[in-house]
């Protein structure tokens, strides 16, 4: 498919690629960070970007939604909401343009509606390629609008989190997004609507301490890092050696903070089952 990308026009919004995606004739190879096996792109694509050793590769927001929602069902919303560097923070503009180039996205989250096994849902997916999914004001605004939209249209929300936390470069205004999004989640919940979060690698900081942990059902991908304080920070502060599985999905499941761990290939099916158990939602918007 590599060379065809030049001729190929995206059929829907999920088929847009990162703006800097390298077109190559030969197949791109990836090394598994866990078992160091070399894998070719087509194999990974077939295996939902999971290595034979079980390692779940980080994947971009659009690929994520393409994998998890019914084909051609995703319609993006609120993509026009972008940050305007409210604090004029040193170096932020350059970081933003780098992130935009690397991810092909204008913010660290994409939001919209889709169907999953025929069930209408509002969805969001965060992007590891965009400043490691950090939450700035536009991220918070998109998520808040999505929950408000879902509340208004009586839709469940399914969201995939990836985040290093609140975005330093937008200072206190980033911090306030934790409260703002939590308010929108609460209103959605008060209407009796379902919210499923899927914690993916890594989910930390201010996102863990807000909408990631506020789901009715909290799923996690195997081996994902999930925590509040960063591992290195904990290590430096406590001067203790940390358990090997510290702040993994398995760790938070054991301690009671996730409902279930689901391998990526089973994710869509489990989410679909849960949606059906909560009444599905086959009405058109």
């Amino acid at each position: 498919m590599g060379i065809l990308k030049f001729l190929y026009k995206p059929q829907n919004e999920l088929e847009k690629d990162g703006r800097n995606a390298e077109p190559s004739v030969g197949e791109k190879e990836y090394t598994c960070p866990n078992c160091h096996r070399t894998l070719v792109e087509s194999t990974l694509e077939n295996d939902s970007w999971v290595c034979t050793c079980g390692y779940h590769f980080r994947i971009g927001a659009r690929k994520r939604l393409q994998m998890m929602t019914d084909s051609d069902s995703f319609g993006e919303l609120f993509s026009s909401v972008v940050t305007d560097d409210p604090l004029s923070f040193p170096g932020y503009q350059q970081k933003l343009s780098k992130a935009r180039n690397a991810s092909g996205e204008s913010e660290s989250v994409i939001t919209g509606t889709a169907t999953i096994d025929g069930c209408r849902v509002a969805v969001f997916a965060m992007s590891p390629d965009f400043m490691m999914g950090s939450m700035g004001t536009a991220t918070g605004e998109r998520i808040t609008r999505l929950f408000e939209y879902a509340t208004e249209h009586s839709l469940p929300v399914v969201g995939w989190t990836v985040s290093g936390g609140a975005r330093m470069q937008e200072g206190l205004l980033s911090l306030m997004q934790m409260a703002k999004t939590s308010g929108a989640v609460l209103r959605h919940s008060q209407e009796g609507l379902l919210y499923i979060t899927v914690l993916t690698d890594p989910t930390t900081g201010g996102v863990t301490a807000s909408f990631a942990m506020e789901g009715d059902i909290i799923m996690a991908e195997p081996g994902a890092t999930v925590g509040f304080a960063g591992r290195r920070v904990v290590e430096q502060t406590t001067m203790e050696s940390l358990p090997r599985d510290f702040q993994t999905s398995e760790f938070i499941l054991e301690h009671g903070f996730a409902d279930l761990i689901v391998p990526r290939k089973d994710e869509k099916k489990i989410i679909a089952d849960l949606l059906h158990m909560h009444g599905g939602n086959h009405d058109s918007i």
């Binding site: 605004e141 209103r187 990631a212 301690h255």
Partner: protein, 261 residues
């Protein structure tokens, strides 16, 4: 005064702590302990007291004074149990129609293995969501450090006030400097960029009022603050759509442009 001077002032161990405010502004404080789940976190104190004759729930992050007390209180860094205790007392206040007054002073939520095992992120997240829906007036006063999510977990309130030299930030200036400049010694520079002073917070609408520190810790200072808090609580108790206004207060934060397609 530079931003970093204010950070240093906010951290000064001789500053009054939450218990000083509680002792001076309220009467008959009865401390209530524990989260009814796991333990009592002494980094947070809370209970019921009278504010000018009116029963209120008062909660504060307490750093302590002597070294021994400061250690016992984890230097004002609450663990999940502290946040859960605070939430328990807030729900109790809602049940008995008492307003909630919160004193915030923390470098951040406690960082440790146990805190992670017991769901620090979940504890903060739950407070944010529950405070947003709490059916009683809430007023938070940042008296020293407002360290990120650990401070916000007690500051999703109808009003947020800050002492003149209190600071409120998404990350410590040292943490920011070590990421940005690979050097924690650049903290003063980072402090400027982060816009973390009380005046900055007020200009962004994140704090409604900056409290002058003239006469800090004198009886006159506490009396005036108690008068102002009581007057504000009175206003909040007669505010219709309190929850809607609280929602909109936080809903408004964030400047972004609508990108032209």
């Amino acid at each position: 005064m530079t931003a970093y001077d204010r950070v240093r002032t906010a951290r000064n161990t001789s500053r009054p702590t939450a218990q000083d405010y509680i002792a001076a502004m309220f009467t008959d404080f009865i401390e209530l302990h524990g989260d009814r789940r796991y333990r009592d976190d002494e980094a947070i104190i809370g209970g019921i007291a009278y504010l000018k004759g009116k029963p209120v729930t008062v909660i504060g992050i307490e750093k302590g004074h002597s070294t021994i007390e400061r250690m016992r209180r984890s230097f004002g860094a609450p663990e999940p149990e502290g946040y859960r205790k605070a939430l328990r007392l807030m729900k109790q206040a809602e049940k008995f129609h008492r307003p909630v007054i919160l004193f915030v002073d923390t470098s951040g939520a406690f960082c440790g293995i146990g805190a992670e095992e017991r769901g620090q992120g979940e504890a903060i997240a739950e407070n944010l969501m529950e405070m947003m829906g709490l059916k009683t007036p809430e007023l938070s006063i940042l008296i020293g450090e407002g360290g990120s999510g650990g401070a916000l977990a007690l500051a999703v309130s109808d009003r947020v006030w800050m002492l003149e030299n209190a600071v409120y930030s998404v990350i410590s200036p040292e943490g920011c400097a070590s990421i940005l400049y690979k050097d924690a010694a650049e903290a003063p520079k980072a402090a400027e960029s982060l816009r973390l002073t009380a005046a900055d917070a007020k200009s962004m609408g994140i704090a409604e009022r900056v409290i002058s520190e003239e006469g800090l810790a004198t009886p006159a200072f506490y009396k005036q603050l108690a008068d102002e808090v009581a007057a504000e609580i009175e206003i909040l108790e007669h505010t219709e759509d309190l929850l809607e206004r609280r929602y909109q207060r936080f809903r408004a934060f964030g400047r972004y442009e609508e990108e032209k397609k």
